[in-house]
Symmetry: C2
Subunit: 379 residues, 2 copies
Amino acid sequence: MQTAGFQFELLHVDRNSGARLARLTTPRGVIDLPTFMPVGTCGTVKGLTYDQVEKIGAQITLGNTYHLALRPGADVVEAMGGLHKFIGWSKPILTDSGGFQLFSLAKISKIRESGATFQSHIDGRKLELTPEKSVEIQEQLGSDIAMVLDHVIGLPADRNAILDACERSIRWAGRCQNAHRRSDQIQFAIVQGGLDADLRKWCAGELTAMEFPGYAIGGLSVGEEPAEMYRIISATTPCLPVDKPRYLMGVGRPQDLLEGIARGIDMFDCVMPTRNGRNASAFTDQGELNLRNKCHQLDPQPVQADVLTDWSHLSRAYLRHLFKAGEMLGPILLSLHNLAYYMGLMRQAREAIAHDSFLEFYQERMAGWGEPAPFNRPC
Amino acid sequence: MQTAGFQFELLHVDRNSGARLARLTTPRGVIDLPTFMPVGTCGTVKGLTYDQVEKIGAQITLGNTYHLALRPGADVVEAMGGLHKFIGWSKPILTDSGGFQLFSLAKISKIRESGATFQSHIDGRKLELTPEKSVEIQEQLGSDIAMVLDHVIGLPADRNAILDACERSIRWAGRCQNAHRRSDQIQFAIVQGGLDADLRKWCAGELTAMEFPGYAIGGLSVGEEPAEMYRIISATTPCLPVDKPRYLMGVGRPQDLLEGIARGIDMFDCVMPTRNGRNASAFTDQGELNLRNKCHQLDPQPVQADVLTDWSHLSRAYLRHLFKAGEMLGPILLSLHNLAYYMGLMRQAREAIAHDSFLEFYQERMAGWGEPAPFNRPC
């Protein structure tokens, strides 16, 4: 499929790590990499307006094929002019393929070579998702970056099951590539292979040969130890083309993002900033704060002074009050803070890479978070 | 009590009704009258940031003494620099006195001449609220306009009970006046008297003689027929001084606002815009829309094209999707729309009064809402 208006530029690789400064140009705007993509599962970044999301610096957001296909339906979104117009976000959108939700959400999901049959988690309707159907839905949604349908399995699993799912994911990637029609959308392939480094490398090689415009690492952050995830990232990124963007799906905590960047990852997404924000947990350079705690009752400090949002002059005492009173504004303000924190972290990471000081930045943040720093010189 | 920096100016009275164009200047800003005051019960206009509330044109918001005194506590708010700083709203704030909540919310409220004892609706703590305590709390909160503590009773009630509560409200108003200390805060008295026009007139006369800087009509919108409420407003406003602001407490629907304005009311507050917004009900010039309805599934129209918010380009179809999916953004967007609708209605009313065309404006809106128009020439 010929596509137009997309360009990936690798601007600089950090002298002391695998961290990459890059730029992905799309018809709907430029994305400075590394980037974090706020998750708009059902066509909304939970609790926020898209102009708030834009104002804190997001250059791309996510939409979920599985959720949007079930409700309101891809036909509805298409009839309303596509996902961008429907939700009021004019910058790039990445849609996942539904593969992860088949694994995590759908009731009685059954995978065959043709595709997956499953029951909707909303109303129990029986539905089918094939690679071709996933492509079709994502083209109806009109996202800028579409993901291939992959076969995600739970970990731990035995090698044969992982191999089987991995091989199927490769075959399905090919079917997605063949089904692709929109010239204003690019497809990313997804590397699977569980926690088996050799399988990951093989899978990455197979998919690289198919020449996708971008590559994702999927099937991680499903319960394994962080160190295991980092090991797999370290094994995989060297097997991916240097001149294509790399996306680590569904990850993660701030420390996971820096570990990923150090290993050459360019793109991340995770519900954690908004989910934790709804639960009164604030990300800061000194680690997470629980704003329900009594110690914040008379605390005049902002959550973190240099994380700027329209409300960053407000105190932890006010935030605590909102959460204790069960007011919607608590989750709203803290979701926005946490996303702004993530966007700021990515901006700082890009600056550090440009100055070959990513390792110093990494060490400073990890120390602030009270994290042991397992990373020295990956890959 | 000498106060400084407050001024009420009556700019124009509509030729064909009692509608008044006026201006209330306070140390924290000018309020163009008639005005609607968004309600921030617990120090937040539910679901919205205060910068959103300001952006749609609000010039004053409300805070609730009863709620804030229970949680987070007036001491906490005072220690954090007062309510304005605590919530991040620099324009004027009006605080009610707690009288209405003693009637509507508190468990086992017992009124004596000294004050009210009641149990907190939050944790069952036994507390006392006297006129002096209400003044003290409102001075701790640091509102610009404070309300006197009044004795609100349910309707219907017999004349003796209404008279008793009315007389007590007058005595309590005097005690509030005596207890008042802050020169940067003015107090409004509250006219009570149930649905008895003579009692209302008498109460208004007694309070007028006490020379408060502003007057409210309380104890309405508690279940009586709208026509009864309008009758009492018509009986009361002529007995209030023309050179002081008049505030109809807790009212109401858009039609109630226009009926109130026609009878010389300057200020309103009500939770309806945000409460209805949270329940998918949108105010428009054609009446209320329920955005959960199937008819909006593919409706590309905005809720109302000329009610401008940061998201007013979004479709009814998207709003419906958000409500069907149980997403926070539905209540957020519709609360903002409804408040913007109310603010726009007040702006249009002011323009109409300035041009002596309030009656035409009133008739046009009432026709749009499908309301019979009981008002001809009030007072």
